[in-house]
Each structure stands twice: as structure tokens, then as C-alpha cells.
Amino acid sequence: MIAGYDLGGRRAARGRWAVRSGLGILIFWALVAAFAPLIAPYAPSAIDFAAAADPRPSAVHPLGTDLLGRDLLSRLIWGARTTFAVVPLALGAAFVVGIAAGAVAGYFGGWTDAVISRASDVMLAFPALILYVILITARGPSLSNIVIAVTLAYAPGVARLCRAQVLALRGLDYVRAAEARGEPAWSIIIAEILPNARGPLLVDLALRAGYTVILVGTLGFLGLGLPPPTPDWGGMVVEGSGMMAVYWHMALFPCIAISSVVIACNLLADGLREARP
């Protein structure tokens, strides 16, 4: 690379395009969630017994119904509500806990690091499903338990990534300059280190946003958190996947909805990374 060459222009342009499309998709779903009662043709739990016999897409139910004859389009629209309420909350909790633990472990090292890293290793090694079942039997279903379950599942991975980032950055001269002027540790971590670690963390956030949509569905299926009649996309995929060979639409449309959110998050993360290196 020759100094003075600016290859950034094209990258920045691509970054802006990605941010716009990502934001566009997310805003679309957010609007859908906000105006669900106005848009949805049916109530999410309304059962159409006639359609249950032949759940395939028709003029009455453009995306078809599920096995119980509930309109798939309406459930998708109402499901956006669940997704946009639960996922950010759960994911936010997981990242706050994970970043805090990882940054502390990476910056201080030594015993602090050993304790936090081993604890997160144990949690990563523990089968997630068993963890959820234990949680259900101990605490029963609720929104806060979804948040706890997602945090337990994802915080260790986030912590590990964050720790690696902090380790790579904490020896750099600008961090040492901050130490040399006596900045307290929390100020160095928050102002000097974390802003430069955001690239990989943003990408991870986008990926996990997608997984979380599915995980929330799985939890619903297990009976933790949202009880079955509440429409959520993950739960719809889980229900529909059994019927894939016969009624493809039951799993496909919620899958497309989930994918669009995952892709939007990825575009957003990529774009942010390109635009502000």
C-alpha cells in the first residue's frame, strides 16, 4: 500500500449503502410491530376451522395458516411485536454482562481474569438445553427469565471475545499514555479501549441478534417465557418444521422473517464497521 492513496471512498460508499438497507429492513419490521393491530387481517390466535383442513396459502389466508388454522400472516405481524420487544432486551442484557466481564478480565488479567474466564468456560461447556430446563423448573416462565436464559447462554461468548479485544488493545501506546496520566481503570476501559473494540463486538451483536430470535422461539417451545399462544417467529419455525415435507409454508415464511432481521443486522454491523473504522 502506498501512503497517500485513499481507497476509503469506495468502502465508505459501500458502507453507507449497507447501513441504509439494514436500517430500512429493521425500520420496516419496527413499523409492522408498532401498527400490528391495524395491519393484521386476523387476530393472532383466531382459529379458522375451515382453513385447518387445508392450511395452504389461499385468497383468504395469503400466507396460509398453521395446523390449528391460525392465519400465518397475522401471526407473523404480531410476532414482530414479540421479537422487537424481547430480543433487544435479552440481547442487551447479555452484551452488558459479557462486555463488562470480558473487559474487566482482559484489562486486569491475573486472578480476576482466571476466575472470570474459568467461570465462562464452565458456562459454555454446560449444555444450554439442560440449563433452560433447570431454569424453568426453578423459576417458571416469564419475560425476565427469557432475559436470564439468553444472558446465561450468550454472555460467556461475548465476554471471551471482548477479553481478546481488550488484551490486544491494552498494551497500545494511547492506553499507556492514559495510564501514565493517572486515568482510573474504568475510564480507560470505557473511553480508551472499548470504542476501538467495537468492530468485532458489533459483528457479534448482529450474528447473535439472529440466533436470539430463534433461541427465544425455542424457549417458548420448551415452556420457558412466552406461553404457546403468543405468536413469536422462532416458535412458529419450531412448530412448522415438523410439517416441512407437507406444508412448506409453515416454516418458510417465519424463516424468511427471521432471516431478514438477521441480514439487516449484519448489513448494519458491516456498514458501521466500514464507515467508521
Binding site: D6, R181, G182, A191, N196
Partner: protein
């Protein structure tokens, strides 16, 4: 046949706004056995030329005009197989990072054999023992001791200098007609660099290979090159024999470049900084490319078109329309006599400072660790108010450890470092009172890492100011304006992030940050070594001004002796964590007492083709002794006691040495004496011939001392 011929070469890179020329209309030819030095600052396109010669340009680059002929072959006309034959057999390259050029999981022997057999030739048998013999011969030729043992080593077991020798041997094994060396000594220590440069110039004298030696360092080029080309922003602006270019430069840029260098004999005035910056490749001025920075530029004449080549003397090419008017100028020789610095009140007093890093716990199956050498041992010296003290040493000498301790990033194992009433040696920055933090600040080496890339300049400076106790938005912004003014930056930079600043600007921001609390002393850890010469001069002047205007003391850590000579009042020479020699700069440089100081000074290359330095010292064949003198393994004057008994510290009249040799005692040397070590004054059992040894160290210097 010419080894390399470039005819009107233009290389372009694909950028967002189309193709950008990195090298323009470059013509040069290198005869067989000739060494051609190509000098240029970063962004001048010198590496692009190297890669073009190998037909190995980056994917987004292309030769858009001109031809490249290597030994008569047109590189552009070769297919992949032809290029394979060309590289290695006809042209070989030595890169900047020797360790990165070697495969870390392969022993040296097989790697060399691979290079030897990759290009089978009719006159060489493919016999394994023959290959092995060729490898051993070549390792001997590049001056590596015990080649047999070396073949069994892994790259990580070699020092940087040894690795670069191995890489050169590897490049030579296929007997290429042209050897391209791209900054082969960047990143190596001064004395190691010296050895590698000596090797390259020896190879040049043998005349086997033609060489294209690329460097930003005029001193090194002066030592190796027969002819020199000066590249500026992609244009070859001057070319001629080494003597023509270095002693009678015609182009204003070449002249400014030479004048911008601090010199060992140049006194301690201000350096001639070149204003402005190298234009970025997409942003060329119309007319002469150097005109915007040139003090001789004339409007209406220099801003029309790039001047055509002019020939003031046979073989001397200059692209400047005014070169005849300006005339040849001898390089600057303003010898401002170094004034003897008066004794100043002590500001920082370091007494018997020591640092031992705890040995790493022994791992399972790992061999027993070598004894741990202390990083610092009994280091004592003082820095006075408004004084510049230079700490000179190579990697591993402990100079950075000392800097870390002083600014509170680490603590010492024993000893004290007093600044007023505070002891810096045992308190980390976080535990220091604000007044002490404010008093000691640091400027780091690497302009890439010294500023937080996520913050604007304004945020960087205001964070530092707030931390040091300044409150109120207006107070802070007033102070920031004052700081920028002190480091001569315009307020436009405030909203920029470090990525949008040049290296010199970043280093100025870093200095401004260190100045935030008006420190009594700034620790400057290699503050300009990563900067280009023309930018470096301005930062060096800035450091000098800070001392003069603000009375800021500076502890300058540097390996660049010319810079130290230029800037420092006193010098402390460190080796293996110990002070080998200390004293006023003028005295230490004019009459070094310690053999190590002498070898360091001998390793310095001034940009002068007539400078004939004494031969370099051999590669050390054993580690530094734990108990004895760290210089013992390579010292040509070593005595029997040197390996086992720590050398005594001797003080006399501001000078300190730590050496067993009686001649190194400053008390004896304080009387007027010849500058070289007398040959007969030491134990003949030492193993070296005394006469030869002192010849090796005698320095071509005059000795009038006041």
C-alpha cells in the same frame, strides 16, 4: 549486459477515483556488479520500483507505461513460468523484516537447500551433499560463525542480524545477477545494522551481483552505493555518483534532505526542516513536484511543467530548471560550537535503580530457563532543570524499562528516582499525586499507536487536560489553543481523528498531550525514529524549542547518535541494563572512553561517501555474562576478568564509566590524551592482538577539547 534497465517506467495504483500514478516516467539502469542506491521518503514509490523489478506488483497496481528489462529480459513479456525462473535465478529480493522472510517451523538447513535447488542450473549438481556444501560456503561468505550448527537451528533461535544474513545468503544461493534490497536494516540495532551494511558493501566490492539498495537512510546509502538516485513522490529528481549526489547535490530537495539531517559534527543549532509534506500521489501540484516546498521555487517558472532532465556534469542528472542558477552547494557545514552546559539544579535524581522481572514459572516439559538477567542494574544519573539527557542503547538495554518506571507504568525492584520530594521508582501513576503526574509525561515512538483512533484531537487533548485538573469549557479550549500553538499545529486539526493526520502531525499532538500539564520533564521514547527525515527535523526543532522556551527537561531515548549529538546536553549509554558510560555529550562523542561507546559511534554512518569507518565488530557468539561486563562477548579489548567480575564504576569530573580497562578511567583521561585507546595498556592474555584491536576502534576524529 545491464542488470536492470527501467525505461520511462510508470506504475499506477487503482484508486476510488481512477488510476493514480505512484512512479512516473522513471528511467534508470544498473550495470553488472554495480550497486545502485535508491533514496526516498515514505510515499516516494521506492518499494513500488523494487516490486516492479521482480514483476511482483500488488494486484491493484499495473505498469501503465515504459519497460522493465532485467538482464535484457522484458518482465512484462514473461508468463508465470518465466517469472518463476526470473525470480530467484536472475533477480532475488531481501525484505525489510528478516524474521518474517523465514519459515518459522523449518530449520535453516532445509530452507537454504530449498533456495539452492529451486533453480537448478546445468553447472550445479543436484547432489544433496553438494547442496549442503554450497549452503555452508554461502553462510561463511555472509560472515556467520559456525555454519554447521546454524543449519540445525530454527529462525526464532537467530538474532535479527543473523536472520538477515541468512536471508541474504538465501538470496545469493541461486546466484542471481541482480539483488534487490528493500530497507534491509530497518528494525535492526545500530551495531547490527552496521554489520549487515558492511556485508552488503563487501558483496558489492566482490562485484558478483548488481544490487539495487533501497533505503530512506542517506548514511547507509553513502556507505554502499556506487550511484544514487533520489526519488521524490514518484519522480526521480536527481541521479549521479554517490559523490556527486552527496557532496555536490544540485536539486533543492536533495540539498534540503541532507541539511535536515542532524549530524555528529554539525553542532547543536536548529535543523533545516523542509516545510510542508510530500504531496499524496493523487494530489500532484502542476509543474515541478517539489515546487510547493522549495525555497528556490519561482512562480511562473516552476509551476508550469515537471522539469526535463538536465545534466550539470557527466553522469549527473537533475530535474530542476533552476539548478544552474542555484549552483552546486556543499552540504551544510555549520559547526556551531557546543557550549559547555552549566551545571543545573538537579530535577530528577536516579540512584542505583534496579529492575528484575520475575522468572516465568517453569512449564511442563520446557527446558530449564536461562538465568534471568536484570533489566536494569544499579542505574544512576541525574537530569537537571531544562536539561536534555539522552539515553542511548540498543534493544534489550533497558532504556524502555527505565522510561516505564519513570512515568509510573511499572515499578523498580530497588533504588530510587527522586523528583522533588516524590519517589517515582516505586509508585505507579495511579497512586501518584496529581502534581507528580503532571510533572512527568511521556511521548511514545510510534505515531500510529500513540493517539486513540476513536477520538478527535480535541477529545484527546481535553481528556488529558481534564484529568490533570483543568475545569470549565472555556479554560480547556483556551488551553488547547495554546498547546496547539506550542507544537505549531493549526486549529483545523482539532476535529480530525488521528487517521486523518500525517505522522509528523500525530507526533506533535502526542507532544501537545504530554505538555498538557506543563511538565517539568518529558520522557521522549524514540520520538522521531518513525518519521521521515524532512518531517523529523521539524519535530526535533520543536523539542529543542520546548527546552529553550518552557524550560522543560527532556529525557531523550534514542538509538540515533546524530540526533543525540544534536540535541542532548548529556549522554547516558546503557547496555544490558547497566550504565556503560555517561557524561557531557560533547566529551562523550569527541572522546568516548568505553569500548562499547566507541563501537556505537563507529557504527554511525554520516551521509558522506568518503567516510571510511573502522571495521565492525563480530556477531556475539555467546550471551551476555550474568556477572561480568555485558559487552564482554564482543569487546575487542576484553581482559580475562571481564567475563566474571562486574566492571567497577569510576567517576571523574562529570564523567562516569564502567569498565575494567585502565584507559577507560575518566580520571586518567581527563588530561589531554589521544582519542584512541592506547594499544599496549592491557593484559596480553586477553586473546586479541592489542595493536589490531585498538586500530579497529580508533576513530577518525579530532580531539581538541576545551
Amino acid at each position: 549486459m545491464t542488470a536492470l534497465e527501467l525505461k520511462g517506467l510508470t506504475v499506477s495504483y487503482r484508486g476510488p477515483a481512477g488510476w493514480i500514478e505512484a512512479v512516473r516516467d522513471l528511467s534508470l539502469s544498473i550495470g553488472p556488479g554495480e550497486t545502485y542506491g535508491l533514496v526516498g521518503e515514505s510515499g516516494s514509490g521506492k518499494s513500488t520500483v523494487a516490486y516492479a523489478a521482480l514483476g511482483a506488483l500488488a494486484e491493484n497496481a499495473a505498469v501503465t507505461a515504459g519497460r522493465i528489462l532485467v538482464c535484457g529480459q522484458d518482465v512484462a513479456a514473461l508468463d508465470a513460468a518465466g517469472l518463476d525462473r526470473l525470480r530467484g535465478a536472475t533477480v532475488a529480493m531481501v525484505h525489510q523484516e528478516p524474521v518474517a522472510a523465514l519459515d518459522p517451523v523449518m530449520r535453516i538447513g532445509p530452507q537454504l537447500a530449498e533456495a539452492a535447488t529451486a533453480h537448478p542450473r546445468a553447472d550445479r549438481s543436484s547432489d544433496r551433499t553438494e547442496t549442503r556444501r554450497a549452503c555452508l560456503r554461502m553462510l561463511g561468505r555472509v560472515g556467520l560463525p559456525d555454519p554447521e550448527a546454524l543449519l540445525r537451528r530454527y529462525p526464532h533461535q537467530l538474532s535479527g542480524g543473523q536472520a538477515q544474513r541468512v536471508v541474504i545468503a538465501m538470496a545469493l544461493l541461486a546466484q542471481p545477477r541482480l539483488l534487490v534490497l528493500d530497507e534491509p536494516t530497518t528494525g535492526l540495532d545500530t551495531t547490527v545494522e552496521r554489520r549487515v551494511v558492511d556485508l552488503v558493501s563487501e558483496l558489492g566490492r566482490d562485484g558478483g551481483q548488481a544490487m539495487l539498495y533501497i533505503s530512506h537512510n542517506l548514511g547507509l546509502i553513502a556507505r554502499v552505493a556506487d550511484r544514487i538516485g533520489v526519488l521524490y513522490a514518484g519522480d526521480l529528481i536527481e541521479e549521479g555518483t554517490a559523490r556527486q549526489v552527496l557532496t555536490a547535490p544540485r536539486h533543492p530537495y536533495t540539498r534540503a534532505l541532507i541539511a535536515a539531517l542532524p549530524r555528529m559534527d554539525g553542532g547543536t543549532g536548529r535543523l533545516h526542516a523542509i516545510p510542508g509534506q510530500i504531496p499524496s500521489a493523487g494530489n500532484r501540484p502542476p509543474g515541478c513536484i517539489f515546487a510547493p516546498r522549495c525555497q528556490h521555487a519561482v512562480t511562473g517558472l516552476c509551476d508550469r511543467a515537471m522539469p526535463p532532465p538536465d545534466h550539470p556534469a557527466p553522469g549527473h542528472m537533475v530535474r530542476c530548471v533552476r539548478q544552474a542558477e542555484i549552483g552546486p552547494a556543499p552540504p551544510r557545514a555549520v559547526a556551531v560550537p557546543a557550549t559547555d552546559t552549566p551545571q543545573r539544579d538537579p530535577l530528577l535524581d536516579i540512584v542505583r535503580l534496579g529492575k528484575i522481572y520475575p522468572a516465568a514459572p517453569r512449564r511442563l516439559l520446557a527446558p530449564a530457563a536461562a538465568p534471568v538477567l536484570p533489566a536494569l542494574r544499579c542505574v544512576s544519573f541525574a537530569v537537571g532543570r531544562a536539561e536534555i539527557v539522552a539515553l542511548v542503547g540498543e534493544s534489550g538495554s533497558g532504556k524502555s524499562t527505565l522510561a516505564r518506571i519513570l512515568v509510573g507504568l511499572d515499578t523498580a525492584s530497588d533504588g530510587t528516582a527522586r523528583l522533588g520530594n516524590a519517589d517515582l521508582a516505586h509508585t505507579v501513576a495511579r497512586r501518584r499525586p496529581r502534581a507528580v503526574i503532571r510533572a512527568v509525561q511521556i511521548v511514545f515512538q510510534n505515531p500510529e499507536a500513540t493517539l486513540n483512533p476513536a477520538h478527535s484531537v480535541n477529545r484527546i487533548l481535553s481528556r488529558a487536560l481534564r484529568r490533570l485538573g483543568l475545569r470549565g469549557r472555556h479554560t480547556v479550549s483556551d488551553r488547547i489553543t495554546a498547546l496547539l500553538d506550542q507544537v505549531r499545529l493549526s486549529p483545523e486539526v482539532l476535529m480530525r481523528r488521528p487517521a486523518d493526520l500525517s505522522g509528523g502531525q500525530r507526533q506533535r499532538v502526542a507532544i501537545a498531550r504530554a505538555l498538557a500539564g506543563t511538565p517539568d520533564i518529558i520522557i521522549a521514547d524514540e520520538p522521531v525514529s518513525a518519521l521521515d527525515v524532512s518531517v523529523q527535523a521539524a519535530v526535533v526543532n520543536l523539542l529543542g524549542d520546548l527546552r529553550a522556551d518552557q524550560g522543560t527537561a527532556i529525557l531523550l531515548i534514542s538509538h540515533d547518535l546524530a540526533l543525540v549529538r544534536h540535541l542532548a546536553d548529556r549522554v547516558v549509554v546503557l547496555l544490558g541494563g547497566q550504565v556503560m558510560e555517561a557524561g557531557p555529550a560533547a566529551q562523550v562523542f569527541d572522546a568516548p572512553l568505553h569500548p562499547y561507546t566507541q563501537s556505537l559511534i563507529a557504527a554511525h554512518h554520516p551521509p558522506d561517501p568518503d567516510h571510511a569507518p573502522p571495521p565492525s565488530l563480530p556477531e556475539p557468539d555467546r550471551p551476555m555474562p550474568v556477572a561480568g561486563c555485558p559487552f564482554e562477548p564482543v569487546c575487542p579489548l576484553r581482559l580475562a576478568v571481564c567475563a566474571s567480575v562486574p566492571p567497577p564504576e569510576r567517576n571523574h569530573a562529570e564523567r562516569t564509566t564502567r569498565c575494567h580497562l585502565p584507559e577507560a578511567d575518566p580520571a586518567i583521561r581527563s588530561a589531554a590524551m589521544p582519542p584512541t585507546l592506547p594499544g599496549g595498556g592491557h593484559d596480553p592474555e586477553a586473546g586479541t592482538a592489542p595493536g589490531a584491536a585498538s586500530d579497529a576502534l580508533s576513530l577518525p576524529m579530532t580531539t581538541e577539547r576545551s
